[in-house]
Symmetry: C2
Subunit: 188 residues, 2 copies
DNA sequence: TGGCTAAAAGCAAATAATTTGCGTTAGCGA
DNA sequence: TCGCTAACGCAAATTATTTGCTTTTAGCCA
């Protein structure tokens, strides 16, 4: 299956998408967000505005698509010796990236549109990363929370704070992890 | 202090705000969201579009303001006999309301704008409700989680799932509550 | 009470964004 | 190589947004 978001590579459609995404990323870093308009993006990407309108619908949906693709992790979680410390390092980085101005904005962009596909994509990216850490723990016979527990009690509180409240501190993230680790390992 | 969002009651400014909010609420329940435009809202509210543009900026900000005001709870959490069951009833209702199409949309509207004031308002509404339940538990000497624990391990996971994943089921919400209750009372 | 003032609303012209119909092109499969 | 179709370009028509200026209104003080 070749979806609109992942066109056959090399084709014209793919080139247009790449040019538009690239133009958006450039413009988001370097000018006031309110000045980013579809006609401007089109100009930078060397396409006509109507191409963008027909393909993405409106600015929000385009921004959501770009944000989702930027939220995809490029590397797997760093190895630090134990699954526990892997988790801690991963969570701290996750919180940092998502709390930054750019990160918050990308999340908001993803959530702003009514199409839930992009948001679900982000969620599954996170789960993929965590699954890797869980698998490492299993390999080494390390007692570890389940994926669901990690999503509910580490990822969710971090994300809630970023979206609705104050950005989470490093200590806060550590506290969440201590809370969710199996009893025997509850102390850092 | 009389802010733009809470003008002196009875004045012209307040009448305009009420008319516009009312028009928005009406239009959101009864027509396709994509057809809700500022010129149309202005017409229904009997004001000129420029009034809305000057006061709210754009459609997203207006929708965010309306959504935040609709997310304010009207009543305090129902009394069901114990703080534990109060919490359960409250959480189930919260999850239901927020998972509904209208609820999800209101949350998205609130999060879509870069001004975080509305999102923080929603968070504080939730905290106010939970504080009442925590206070009831204290009055009766019932062992109970702290407000922070409730926000982190009940509210956050529910909200994360609504925004990024599948809507939470009733059993899921009950599970969260069991997990967060003090050990002695962990069994329902 | 009766003006005075500043904030907010109305109006309309100018600008900018969005939609749409139609012709063109590039890439894919036969 | 030769269509065929999906996607793009172009431009006109529509619609939304901005803006300068005028008018109204509520609050305030003499």
């Amino acid at each position: 299956m070749v979806s609109k978001e992942n066109p056959r590579p090399g084709g014209r459609s793919a080139r247009v998408q790449a040019a538009v995404h690239h133009a958006v990323r450039e413009m988001l870093t370097g000018m006031d967000r309110a000045d980013v308009t579809i006609p401007l993006i089109a100009q930078r990407a060397n396409v006509t505005p109507s191409t963008i309108y027909r393909r993405w619908g409106d600015l929000q949906e385009l921004l959501a698509a770009v944000a989702a693709s930027r939220l995809q992790p490029e590397t797997e979680p760093q190895r630090t010796g134990s699954a526990r410390t892997d988790l801690q390092a991963w969570a701290e980085q996750y919180a940092d990236e998502m709390s930054s101005g750019a990160g918050r904005q990308m999340i908001r962009d993803v959530l702003a549109v009514s199409d839930t596909a992009n948001a679900e994509k982000c969620c599954s990216y996170t789960q993929q990363q965590l699954r890797l850490i869980v698998a490492r723990a299993e390999e080494q016979g390390e007692a570890f929370p389940t994926l669901t527990e990690l999503m509910d009690f580490v990822v969710s509180p971090i994300m809630y704070r970023i979206l609705f409240d104050q950005v989470p501190s490093r200590d806060y993230v550590r506290g969440l992890i201590s809370r969710v680790m199996p009893e025997g390992a509850a102390k850092s």
